[in-house]
């Protein structure tokens, strides 16, 4: 076992050393002529206008919560789909009950206007 790790650790050391060596070598060799166009993140395309961590409306949280619910729903549906044949009609009934409960919640959220962008 240890000899296998030796090769990996040599590789890891080389992998870490290589970019440092290259960056330092480039810094030493290249001429320094900064310009404003050179500082832009994209060579072509639209320059970014604001901070990526800007504030956005709190209304998204309801959408996020609804997303989580249906996300969890799929987590439960996938194993059922995999074992569909073995579970038979019992599985269908069970999933129907599960979906019915979720749909009650969905109708409730819909009627309460959770999906309206007011």
């Amino acid at each position: 076992m240890p000899e296998g790790y030796l090769a990996i650790s040599i590789f890891a050391v080389c992998a870490m050393a290589l970019p440092i060596v290259l960056l330092v070598a480039a810094k030493l060799v290249r001429p320094s002529a900064p310009a404003s166009t050179k500082m832009e993140p994209y060579e072509c395309g639209i320059p970014p206008v604001s901070d990526a961590r800007g504030r956005y409306t709190v209304r998204f949280y309801i959408i996020a919560i609804l997303f989580v619910i249906f996300d969890v729903e799929t987590i439960f549906l996938f194993p059922w789909a995999v074992r569909f044949k073995q579970l038979g009609w019992f599985g269908v009934a069970e999933v129907a009950v599960f979906l019915a409960i979720l749909i009650v919640g969905y109708i409730w959220a819909y009627k309460k206007g959770a999906l309206e962008w007011v």
Binding site: I101, V104, G105, W108, K111, K112
Partner: protein, 490 residues
């Protein structure tokens, strides 16, 4: 292999009814009864749901009695209906019913009357069913979260009230934190035993040594989570704030039903998987119980808000119930059951009087609001006196019976120090309960508004008052019921 047998269904009927009616109330709220005047039909559906769940429980109870068997298991050991589960389920149903009927008037006064409230009570009750009946770590945890999530919403139900919002947020954060501890302990238990069934976990934890560090880790983290839920010191900080800010009926529900469910859960875990490490948890729990009694009683002395005072008093009652578990013999577990039953009615009653004091423009939970109640409404004042006497443990009220069993169990098992400490704190408790009594009977009234009244309030006060006196004066049938729960002790 059959996934869902008739027996499984039989055990699950109360939970199905609670969940079904809970969902129905959510839908009916806008589909059939959209007008605010029709909220009483939702209340009716809630009561109907409780009746159906109660019918299911009754069938289970009579099945157990007629066949003379100790328990019915379902889903290959995931759920177990025994006398213990049934006893606690009856408490939950009674508490839900009483809380729901007093809420109607209260929510109207608060101007926050929404149909969801009744649905949430049913779903919380459904969670409690699984807490009392579950014998599987996953089932118990899901039941706990179902109950707790409903409570987070209900505590913050007064959306315009800063205190309610603060209470809900504190309760949510600390509740989620404690659930994390609990489920970590469960994961260690599962890691040690390879099973989530309490019985199998108990067997494999018992085969490991007493001082196995992993068993201790499971014990410590599980205990922290559970003691959080029953608001035992030093994990009680959320309780006074949550109790004070929540709508008063929900404070009552939280302090009674949630606590009863958490105790059912705690007793099942401590007498099940952790039974073998009793030598380790007994001194730990004794220290916790003593600290709970000390902090609960001493902090209650200086409160000027009656709701907050009752919150601290409910912390100290949790200490008393823990003492029953520490004694751990048949008398002790009977004591836990009796105490929980008695506590349900007397504590609900005391909070309902506060609910009645909530009127337009008067919050009614300050010591000044209750002063001179005797002049204004003698019936309420006398009932409050009965509830407070019972909370203090003065015979012939029911509270005496609960305390009697706890003390008896402590003396039987030679826990003399704990017994003496508990007795001393009972005397302290009399002082702060009688501060309220003095305020009611001696002081002058500060407002002229009559006490709120509705059919629900009168019925709830009547039921709690009668039960508080009845259990104290004629305890035999209740004791027999409570003694049947002791099959958990081996």
């Amino acid at each position: 292999m059959s996934y869902y047998t008739a027996q499984d269904h039989f055990v699950l009927v109360p939970a199905i009814m609670l969940a079904l009616f809970g969902c129905a109330v959510f839908l009916f709220d806008f589909l059939i009864f959209p007008s605010p005047k029709q909220r009483k039909y939702l209340l009716f559906f809630l009561v109907l749901g409780l009746v159906f769940a109660g019918a299911g429980l009754w069938q289970q109870q009579s099945f157990l009695m007629s066949h003379g068997i100790p328990e019915i298991t379902a889903f290959r050991g995931t759920l177990t209906v025994d006398s213990f589960a049934l006893f606690f389920n009856w408490i939950f149903l009674a508490a839900s019913f009483i809380v729901a009927i007093v809420s109607y008037r209260y929510l109207e006064t608060e101007n926050e009357h929404h149909g969801e409230y009744y649905g949430l009570i049913l779903l919380a009750n459904c969670g409690m069913f699984f807490l009392a009946t579950g014998t599987d770590l996953i089932t118990l945890f899901v039941g706990l979260e179902l109950m707790a999530l409903c409570f987070y919403i209900m505590v913050g139900f007064l959306r315009g009230d800063k205190r309610s919002n603060e209470a809900a947020l504190k309760y949510l954060l600390l509740g989620a934190f404690s659930s994390g501890f609990l489920v970590y302990g469960f994961s260690v238990m599962y890691g040690l035993s390879g099973s989530t069934r309490l019985r199998e976990v108990a067997i494999s934890l018992a085969t490991r040594g007493l001082w196995d560090p992993l068993v201790f880790l499971a014990l410590a983290t599980t205990a922290v989570g559970l003691l959080f839920k029953v608001s035992a010191v030093p994990f009680h900080m959320w309780a006074p704030d949550a109790y004070e800010g929540a709508p008063t009926p929900i404070t009552a529900y939280l302090s009674v039903a949630s606590k009863a469910a958490s105790f059912a859960f705690l007793v099942r875990i401590f007498l099940g998987p952790l039974a073998a490490s009793r030598e380790i948890w007994e001194p730990l729990l004794s220290a916790v119980a003593l600290a709970t009694l000390t902090v609960g009683n001493l902090a209650a002395l200086s409160q000027t808000n009656v709701k907050r005072l009752l919150a601290y008093s409910s912390i100290s009652h949790a200490g008393f119930i823990l003492l029953g578990l520490i004694a751990g013999n048949v008398t002790g577990i009977t004591g836990v059951a009796v105490y929980m039953l008695v506590y349900t009615f007397m504590n609900l009653g005391a909070f309902i009087v506060l609910v009645a004091l909530r009127r337009k423009n008067i919050i009614g939970d300050d010591m000044d609001d209750i002063s001179g109640l005797m002049r204004k409404s003698p019936a309420h004042a006398v009932l409050m006196l009965i509830f407070l006497c019972s909370l203090a443990g003065i015979p012939p009220t029911a509270g005496f019976l609960g305390k009697y069993y706890i003390f008896l169990a402590l003396v039987e098992t030679q826990h003399y120090v704990l017994a003496v400490a508990a007795a001393v704190y009972t005397a302290v408790a009399v002082y702060y309960y009688f501060r309220i009594v003095r305020s009611m009977f001696v002081s002058e009234t500060t407002d002229k508004l009559p006490v709120a009244s509705s059919f629900g309030l009168r019925l709830a006060l009547g039921v709690t008052g009668v039960m508080t006196l009845l259990i104290g004066i004629y305890p035999e049938p209740f004791l027999r019921l409570a003694q049947s729960t002791t099959s958990l002790v081996r």
